[in-house]
Symmetry: C2
Subunit: 215 residues, 2 copies
């Protein structure tokens, strides 16, 4: 897709940074589990952070069946945002300072995954996407745990990405000024893992822990 799939999806500002294609959108969703889910509760906007995962043309998120966010978002309009903060962009004027980032905004009606088998399959996919091989190592999920967990999904039909990268864009006459300009790269760092104080003695962290990263 090279055009916005709907009016509310169209990026209004800095539309040279806008993308509507899966080749841009999917890798951003896959590179950062943290998301925020926006929904309307009693007429007010509410933004709740949670983790999302993608399977094909859907994203999913989960939580306690007693969660206000999950109860309210079911069958309701939501906006899910994933933002990866890649750097501070330092210009010669305050006005031209910016950030490098990759951001996805997905609109639509969230649906609940009701079938128990499908719900467990989704949770397994989530676990395995973050920690390959972990699901089979774990104590099995009980029927009660599955019942206490709600999984919501959103089809990726109304989605935009906005991406900025590269150096600052200064006013032409400002490039001659003796002011340092450039980029401060920002990224995540992980580990080293911290053993649970009650760990069975002699256990060492598996590769999905020692090699953990996003994406």
């Amino acid at each position: 897709m090279t055009v916005a799939p709907s009016d509310r999806t169209r990026v209004k500002r800095m539309n040279k940074r806008a993308h509507y294609d899966e080749a841009t959108i999917h890798p951003i969703l896959d590179a950062q589990p943290l998301c925020t889910v926006g929904y309307v509760f009693n007429g007010s906007p509410v933004v709740t952070p949670t983790l999302q995962w993608r399977e094909g043309n859907h994203i999913y998120w989960h939580g306690s069946s007693a969660s206000r966010m999950l109860e309210t978002a079911e069958d309701a309009d939501v906006c899910v945002n994933v933002t990866i903060f890649d750097g501070m962009v330092m210009a010669r004027s305050a006005y031209n300072h910016s950030c490098n980032y990759r951001s996805v905004m997905a609109f639509g009606k969230a649906f609940k995954v009701t079938d128990a088998g499908e719900k467990e399959a989704r949770l397994k996919a989530f676990t395995e996407a973050l920690f390959p091989g972990r699901w089979e190592m774990l104590r099995r999920m009980t029927a009660q745990e599955l019942k206490a967990t709600t999984v919501l999904g959103l089809e990726l039909n109304e989605v935009s990405a906005k991406v900025r990268n590269g150096p600052p864009g200064d006013d032409e006459e400002d490039y001659a000024l003796p002011i340092w300009a450039g980029i401060i790269p920002i990224g995540y760092r992980f580990g080293p893992p911290i053993d649970d104080p009650r760990l069975v003695p002699g256990l060492t962290p598996p590769a999905h822990v020692t090699d953990f990263k996003f994406g």
Copy 2:
């Protein structure tokens, strides 16, 4: 404050993780400029990432005066969320996996900073909070740039924080299982800085660049 300042602010789930005091809330806002602003546009929730900064009992964010988010959020109900992702919490069951995090949710009506002098003072405070000493090094802001910039503010009257830290909480009978459990710490890494390709030769990055960090 030890009780929620309003009903919509009260943390419903895992309320042992809830905090309503400035001593918890302010350091979280100061430790992470990236936020998401939720608002309602044509009846739909929209969540937009931007940077926030705090001065006293207010947070502010800014952008182009042509921004849909800034136009819509002025004098409207918003929900601003700041989330810091501190770690993956690895348990012996899928169900008890969790995240360590610090999150703030602020509700209220956003207001526009209309006075030009006050607007410039807010933008200076934002710049200086991120990059101490930078404002005076920069080419001065023009009246036109100031006019093209909107600054919105939110008084911190309806705010909650939710914080999780520490090891996993497993079911008592699961602690004996030979499954690695513990924490994968997550944090940010910065730099080294990348010079703008058009930098005046011989300039080196100042301390607010080489020592940059959040908070």
